[in-house]
Assembly symmetry: C2
Homo-oligomer: 432 residues x 2
């Protein structure tokens, strides 16, 4: 055990940051024993130094970022957003400090640039808390599966949307009612767009994909579809067919050799009830990994919240500090491949198409013919008569795996056919 403390600088004393500061103090003996040296918080960067901050020693507060970086061994960045977070991290790296961050927006937008800067400077950059909060997922993908190949990752990585869909499923709520309830309980923001439109999940999908496949995955290449179009009828139909609807972040290795690529996308999907992801309830997160040798793995836990996220940050601080106490650093992450990130049109899925059709003979035959013509093969058809006197029926068609482009073509054909009154919903089926 060394007597020389490892010096920690904290940037961003918000919900997570104040919990990190608390845990660093409360568990200092235990942490020192795990690091092999005491941890010392040498300063907390705040933009507005006059403001009162509960539980933080006022003597530690500073608004001089450069001076704080200069005296730190480990910089913990919990400010969020792109700037000044990015500049602070780059300065810390240039100064030879290890970095721990929970900043998913920054990593999704500029991850590879930061990873490479850290590698060039031979310092650690750890970010377990950026994806799925308290769940250790980055470390397993980076380290435990280091001798394996990841085929596919299916993640429930946004607690707000999982809560909303879970409430719609459990209680038959309409989307708007469930969102309102999530807002009242503090699970959703007043403007829920970052969550319900899939922006948050897309950032996490980009980070997971870049780690799993050692590829640069620009956030702009992540296909994104939110949950606001999901209706109570969609949820009921999913239940009828033995599925639940989940918003999934998907990173998938597709094709082989010259045709190979990665597909990275966020969209609602039907998940079979027997799949482990189907029993992830409330605001919990889970990441399901399909690896070549390890087989199926799932990591489950709280995806957000000050204390759980602080636990993940602290685990990273211990790792980075331990490397510093020994004069080393952790694994590198910079060997990037050059597989293309494929557009959504190049991916393939199973689909469930729900539509309203005229309740007369020959309609199913006409629709089946249109699917056959586009090369989309039907797995099951369920037909339900509409209300008495409407002359309409509801048709739910589950397809075999088909290319997105073929399904797009058949949807165009169906929409312009008089065999179809209305396409009610088009949902991918995943996890089979």
């Amino acid at each position: 055990m060394s007597d020389t403390p490892v010096k920690i600088a904290l940037f961003g004393p918000g919900t997570v940051g104040s919990q990190v500061a608390r845990l660093l103090t409360e568990q200092s003996a235990d942490l020192a024993s795990r690091v092999g040296a005491p941890l010392e918080v040498v300063g907390v960067y705040v933009r507005d130094i006059g403001k009162d901050r509960v539980g933080l020693d006022p003597a530690l507060l500073t608004d001089d970022a450069d001076a704080l970086i200069a005296k730190a061994d480990v910089v913990v960045e919990l400010m969020g957003g792109i700037e000044p977070a990015k500049s602070i991290i780059l300065k810390a790296i240039a100064a030879g400090a290890g970095v721990v961050t929970a900043n998913k927006a920054l990593l999704a937008a500029h991850g590879p640039e930061l990873y490479e800067a850290a590698d060039a400077a031979n310092v650690d950059l750890y970010f377990e808390a950026a994806v799925a909060g308290a769940i250790p997922i980055i470390r397993p993908v980076r380290e435990s599966l280091a001798g394996d190949h990841v085929r596919r990752i299916l993640g429930i990585v946004n607690g707000t949307t999982n809560y909303v869909l879970d409430e719609m499923t459990a209680r038959g709520l309409d989307y708007e009612v469930a969102v309102k309830q999530a807002q009242d309980l503090g699970y959703a923001e007043a403007d829920p767009s970052a969550d319900v439109d899939g922006f948050d999940a897309a950032a996490k999908a980009a980070i997971l994909a870049s780690l799993a496949f050692h590829q640069r995955v620009p956030l702009g290449d992540v296909y994104r579809e939110g949950i606001s179009a999901i209706t109570a009828a969609d949820v009921a139909a999913a239940t009828d067919s033995g599925h639940v609807i989940k918003l999934l972040a998907i990173a998938e290795r597709t094709g082989e050799g010259g045709d190979g690529g990665v597909s990275v996308r966020v969209h609602p999907a039907l998940v079979p009830l027997s799949h482990p992801l189907a029993s992830v309830h409330g605001a919990y997160n889970a990441v399901f990994v399909e690896a070549e040798a390890a087989g199926d793995l799932m990591f489950y836990g709280q995806g957000a919240g000050g204390t759980p996220t602080a636990s993940a940050v602290l685990g990273d601080v211990v790792s980075v500090a331990r490397h510093i106490a020994r004069g080393g650093r952790g694994p590198r992450e910079s060997h990037y491949g050059d597989l293309p990130v494929l557009p959504i049109s190049a991916s393939s899925s199973r689909f469930q198409l729900r539509m309203t059709v005229p309740d007369r003979p020959g309609v199913l035959a006409a629709i089946a013919a249109m699917l056959a013509q586009s090369g989309v093969s039907i797995e099951t058809v369920r037909q339900q008569a509409g209300g008495v006197g409407t002359g309409l029926a509801t048709l739910a068609i589950a397809t075999h795996r088909a290319p997105e482009s073929d399904v797009t073509a058949v949807l165009d054909a169906l929409r312009s056919s008089d065999a179809v009154t209305e396409i009610r919903s088009v949902l991918r089926i995943e996890g089979e």
Copy 2:
């Protein structure tokens, strides 16, 4: 990237070992890039060198363990059993080699001795594959939760018993039929005792508890109860009350301060259907961790099998080799606390007591009085009439949390009372 290879010696070319050898060859480029140096298998130790071994280069085979250890940087021990595995690992440590092992029996029996030898010699000892096969659970407990406190671990760590109980639940099979089926499918040994009597799970519980609580947990202190007494009627009653029966490995921090201790036990338990462990089916494993800051986490995956276990071994080989390529080593594990491992009589649980009682007035009152007298508080009672003309009824009582010793006392009282015809089963309820 260094040109000097990290030299790997493989002890035990069985199901797992041959997969490790295959993956080391097939993924050598990728592994080298992750380690920062190429990996070279310098020899494979076999006891009987004349025997044919599929897929292994005969030139690598040797029966000279000492010579092989002398030229290795990393010794991978996959022989199983206590000896000669223990001597080989201790010799490897003494020679300054890093060690990777999947040997749960050895670690459960002699873990602390081995951890300390590795620490004293300043070499790595990694064993991800020893608990829950492919599931990364050791690394998260050792590293990701390094800044947190584990309160409790509930693990489904034996695939055979989970398969048997899952089949009993899904199909209403009797225990003997389900075991026979597991044997036919290769999930259970001809002599299934190591699995069904909980020996395998107890070894894993001892390893998990020693890691989670930094305590020495002798295998002999692990309370152990198998599943062979579980009947189809127990399973049906569990289903009726919204539970499933799982064989759990439990490591629990109990009490505070001077009264503190750890409880480490393996026994069948009723788990509520809403608990994530309830949806772990077939031969899959899962470890549920309750941590102070991180909250609830679960790790799910394949607990056995050559390729999944080889994936975990390989992840460890990469970590150890990476440390060696950089001249360092991973985290130490030797700061042991001195909490006592408490006997089962000192633990407390909720219980479900199922009994046959005479179907006459006053019986329930008499039984309730006996429980009250022992201080065991009743949460729910369900009574079902027995067959017509039997004059008997079945009573299922779920208690509030109660000390084991109080429940033992009340069971003695019930057995000797004429208000009870027969105690049918006594099962703990966990996960609430």
